[in-house]
Symmetry: C2
Subunit: 351 residues, 2 copies
């Protein structure tokens, strides 16, 4: 049976969840998918790095506690050595899920670049590398005959990008709009129940939905990067974050929300992009009072959703989880499945 050797770059919640899926469900997945997954390298800020070409014992990794590091393990070290591991691992797929700064996309961009340059396919859940350097990284992947996949960069594991590329073939998508940030959506929902913005943000932080600094969620910059990805992937654009006008929800008052509710409308932070007849892309992030009949109006709490306006099929909407460690790990599995399918198709075409 075919096998893919995996390097996990970053071992926080998401890559750990992927390792758990591989450990506990690998046999079942192999039967369904026709290939075996084996982890041959792990790097992590706290654990250090580990390279074992014959396969890492994941059970031993899960059993690590406290201040344990990979120092003293065969092929192990106390420091992450990300670039060295990415370039020298025997893995054919590098899974990049480090904590990456969305403003400059680092260290994600450097990790992706190193992997592609050394002839490895990449799956990532980081939006920064895709939104800020997607075109460069796509070209780099093509030049090295490998794949760059990033389903989890938008709406977590809910397979929005692959829905369009695989399932809507033959359609022309002219516009896309979505609820792309669970924190702001949760906050708006709590404000409908009478809470103030500040109280709702504090509650979201207490529940672990919002970061200590909620600015990116509340002021729209998180959604802005996701709109860039959707516009470029789904509408064939080549826009950057500067092309997306951006207004968050801090200007929406409780009075606005109550007035909308009286009309059966709901305020939502909507990211949208459309292509006009000349191929020009217009994109924005803004709070909008959606009528109850709008396909995004009922999307509540941490759920995300994206609507696609198509030529032959009208509007089609996909809704699902926009966060969660296991859900986001599924995005990586979906990417790995896509990389495998493309490698097989190429191998067969070259026979």
């Amino acid at each position: 049976m075919n096998r893919h050797d995996i390097a996990l770059i970053g071992f926080g919640g998401v890559n750990r969840a992927l390792a758990e899926i591989i450990h506990h469900r690998g046999d079942e997945l192999a039967e369904e998918l026709g290939f075996v997954l084996r982890v041959v390298a792990i790097t992590d800020l706290r654990l250090g790095s580990l390279m074992q070409a014959d396969g890492v014992d994941l059970g031993a990794v899960f059993a690590m506690t406290g201040a344990d590091t990979f120092a003293g393990w065969r092929g192990g070290a106390a420091v992450p050595q990300n670039d060295y591991v990415i370039r020298n691992t025997t893995a054919d797929i590098v899974v990049e899920a480090t904590f990456t700064n969305p403003l400059d996309g680092e260290p994600g961009i450097s990790h992706v670049r190193a992997a592609l340059e050394s002839g490895k396919s990449v799956a990532t859940t980081n939006k920064g590398p895709v939104a800020l350097a997607g075109a460069e990284l796509d070209r780099l992947a093509a030049a090295h005959g490998v794949r760059f996949e990033y389903e989890g960069s938008v709406v977590s594991g809910t397979p929005i990008l692959r829905f369009v590329s695989e399932t809507l073939k033959g359609l022309r998508v002219n516009a896309v709009q979505g609820i792309l940030n669970g924190t702001s959506n949760y906050v708006l929902g709590q404000m409908e129940s009478g809470m103030t913005l500040d109280a709702a943000v504090a509650e979201a932080q207490a529940l672990g939905y919002a970061e200590a600094d909620p600015t990116a969620d509340i002021e729209g910059s998180d959604v802005r990067l996701k709109v860039v990805i959707l516009a470029n992937e789904v509408l064939g654009g080549s826009i950057t974050a500067e092309d997306v006008s951006c207004r968050g929800i801090s200007g929406v008052s409780s009075a606005d929300i109550i007035a909308a509710a009286a009309n059966g409308s709901r305020w939502k932070l909507v990211g949208s992009a459309s292509r006009d007849a000349d191929g020009r892309i217009t994109a924005s992030v803004q709070p909008v009072a959606l009528p109850s009949t709008h396909p995004l109006a009922a999307v509540s709490g941490p759920t995300n959703a994206v609507s696609f306006d198509t030529d032959l099929l009208g509007t089609v909407t996909v809704a699902g989880p926009g966060a969660g460690r296991v859900e986001t790990a599924y995005a990586l599995l979906s990417d790995i499945i896509a990389i495998d399918a493309r490698q097989r198709a190429t191998a067969e075409a070259n026979q």
Copy 2:
């Protein structure tokens, strides 16, 4: 460039819309998809039959008026001769979209069987053949090395079946529930506005949503067949219509609807199926008062939607048009694209 020759069995709204797509967008589609579509046969109750192996002039067909038939055309006759055309056409794909009785699946089942037996792949929008004889027809297709595709048998062109098979790979879907009938959903919506059931049905008939005999829509038998298809396709079941308990919306009163609305709930006709740990399928059609937070609660009017409960990703919902001639024709195009992809993969594997 690769080419598919198509026989259109039935030339009502849906197959006519597919012919229009091929006529007006064929070049654009060929560029995107890598294959050309050519219609080489048409049969129709009213127009008769036409077989032209070098390609039918669709413009001339669209220009037919009044009592025109194919009599006198090269390869034409005044009668449909469905079985003869299906068995003798030079087409490699038979597109079956006749008016088929959902109770016995005929003449659709006979048409599909004839096509598969004579080595042609089939795309159909008829639910009867899939719900009543799906397993037999799947086996027949496999035995003849061809494909049997039926995306349009559930939720029209909204690609529900292909969403699961292509986009949710690696997930285990444990349950599915949907709003699968636009007419009953429209009627329930009008009852929320204070209309009686009878008045809402009459309005749906006047708008062309409901048939002269609305029983199948209102009493749930239309949804019942779609639940059979979802349970067998998505959950890997092998159930029949008799296994689906079925209650329609005629027992839902205006008082029920007003009481639910006071609690923020909405009555919906829900078709559902789930698989328990032993692999047993439980399936039903029934009216349910859904809380406003339920992913199907906001699905209004003629829109359909299906939610999938998955192991790794939680609940994912797809909503889109559940009817319409162009929308349903897209389901056929989606099937043709899938048939082409499978034929290419097989050809490459055999090289």
